[in-house]
């Protein structure tokens, strides 16, 4: 039985359709990623799953309980870390933890094993007000507070936003570590490069799920030969390659541009052809190599189809 089951969920705010007929399941112990930009509907979905918002249509089940009728029982099983820091800034680290434990009638001592690997990192600052913590430490405290009642399901809304790569990686390591307690985790992020840290992902845009699969399942479904190309003039390179025969699309991709060919084009000789094309157009320092599609390439592909 899936731990989270969402069926044909819809939600509108006036004329804005935030979620449109969404369905998916998350299995016990999975780290499931909701990957999509701001405004895709991620936070609305989290609020509905956290029983803080009613859907217009559709149903949700958490641990076999109905999301609407049995919301009180569900709240005991949920740990929710909203996107905006929502602890009490004027309480200390320790006071925040005590507060959240008492709200759930939980004992810090009894559940300490669960938070220990995380809490010991911020314990030296336990008398500091939460508002005075750095971004990474706030995030660790928020995770401790969301875990203190030993939830079965963790809802993490954009935990990576606003923190630097060091803290972000530490956070993902903590999530991976929580897996051994059988906690099911739903994590949202607009950063495509965080997708590969999840067991399965849903790519979400305008309230719709465009694809659900493992990260490698998603990238394996990319049908086009793909090349990474660069030269001394990226501005003209992108414009010119879009006009080249056999090129389906060309877009900036970090230091390189990605060139997506029609699926029918055999990738042999392509490097030479692109090189010749660019050289004829006056480019220098040309570098071309075949490249594997990333989640971001797939996301772009799905948005355009």
């Amino acid at each position: 039985m899936p731990v989270i089951e969402v069926q044909q969920l819809s939600k509108s705010y006036g004329p804005l359709q935030a979620l449109e007929n969404l369905s998916f399941q998350v299995e016990k112990g999975e780290i499931f990623g909701l990957i999509g930009p701001d405004g895709a509907g991620k936070t609305t979905l989290f609020r509905i799953l956290a029983t803080l918002l009613l859907p217009d249509q559709g149903s949700i089940q958490l641990c076999g309980l109905d999301g609407i009728k049995e919301y009180k029982k569900i709240r005991q099983m949920l740990g929710y870390m909203p996107g905006r820091f929502s602890l009490y800034q004027d309480l200390t680290v320790e006071e925040n933890l005590e507060f959240f434990a008492s709200v759930f009638g939980a004992s810090i001592q009894k559940n300490y094993d669960l938070i220990a690997p995380i809490y010991t990192q911020i314990e030296p600052f336990k008398d500091r007000r939460a508002g005075a913590l750095s971004g990474g430490m706030k995030q660790k405290l928020a995770l401790c507070c969301a875990l203190i009642h030993r939830p079965k399901v963790l809802l993490l809304d954009e935990p990576g936003t606003g923190v630097d790569p060091v803290s972000r990686q530490e956070f993902w390591e903590m999530l991976a570590d929580l897996r051994r307690y059988g906690i099911t985790m739903l994590v949202s992020t607009p950063n495509m490069d965080e997708a590969e840290l999840c067991d399965r992902i849903a790519l979400i845009q305008h309230g719709n799920i465009m694809a659900i699969d493992t990260p490698s399942g998603i990238t394996n479904s990319f049908q086009h030969p793909l090349f990474a190309v660069r030269s001394d003039n990226m501005y003209t390179l992108i414009k010119e390659l879009r006009e080249m025969e056999g090129v389906k699309d060309c877009y900036a991709f970090g230091e390189y541009a990605h060139v997506k060919l029609e699926p029918s084009i055999a990738p042999t000789d392509t490097t030479a052809k692109i090189f010749q094309f660019l050289e004829n157009n006056g480019h220098t320092q040309i570098d071309i190599k075949p490249t594997a599609p990333t989640i971001e390439d797939c996301f772009i592909e799905l948005m355009k189809s």
Partner: protein, 240 residues
């Protein structure tokens, strides 16, 4: 290639705390330059000095031909600023935002009128001129904010996490605008802690505890730190 920003031992102390420690760097005209560092590394303090908002404790910096210490107002006239979090007034229309920022940058009314029609035409927003900014799609807002930041033809535009949170297509469209500006000779200073944004810069600098510890192209940094992406470079540098 001409230098548009150069700092020499630029330092800022607050009491006993050294926020920026003797930074020396040069940025070229038309370059897309990434300015990276962990939270609290001194990035914001350094940028405030480069934009004339904070006076250095010691050392010097020349920005767009002017000394940030002696001529901060001249520096401010020649720079633009855009952030993903705040750039435009949501409760004003497109036209009102352009007029407001034009006024702040000290453009004349006739200049503002001319710039407004040119900008609306370029972004194909003529019909939307009376629309409130808050009702625009994110991608349009972003392009508008970037254009507004360049209303006064600045030499340098500072971009703070310009594409965080946007979808991959909109992000690409935005980077093309940046490439175009760089192609015209505008210098772009990008601050971010999203390494996927950093990968788009021509060169990157990285601050740790107030000091500049790395400065090179993304490719060279990846090679030097034997990292598969900039995220890994950042972690290796920041963790020491």
């Amino acid at each position: 290639m001409s230098t548009i920003i150069s700092t020499n031992q630029l330092t800022k102390t607050f009491g006993a705390f050294t926020a920026v420690n003797a930074i020396s760097l040069e940025v070229n005209k038309g370059e897309i330059f990434g300015f990276l560092g962990a939270n609290g590394a001194g990035k914001t303090t350094a940028l405030k000095m480069l934009t004339g908002l904070l006076t250095p404790s010691s050392g010097s910096a020349m920005v767009a031909g002017f000394d940030v210490w002696k001529q901060p107002e001249q520096v401010k006239k020649r720079i633009g600023y855009m952030s993903q979090k705040f750039s435009l007034y949501e409760d004003l229309t497109i036209r009102e935002n352009i007029r407001l920022f034009g006024g702040i940058y000290g453009l004349s009314m006739s200049d503002i009128r001319e710039k407004t029609s040119h900008l609306l035409q370029k972004l194909e927003l003529e019909k939307e001129a009376g629309t409130l900014v808050k009702s625009l799609p994110l991608g349009w807002k972003q392009k508008l904010a970037f254009s507004v930041a360049m209303l006064h033809d600045p030499k340098i535009v500072f971009l703070d996490e310009p594409t965080s949170g946007v979808d991959p297509l909109t992000r690409r469209q935005f980077w093309e605008l940046i490439y175009e500006a760089a192609h015209r000779g505008v210098t772009l200073m990008v601050t971010t802690h999203y390494m996927e944004e950093a990968e788009y810069c021509n060169r990157l600098s990285m601050m740790v505890d107030g000091s500049l510890v790395a400065l090179d192209t993304p490719g060279a940094l990846k090679t030097q730190y034997q990292a598969k992406n900039m995220d890994e470079v950042f972690r290796k540098i920041a963790r020491g």
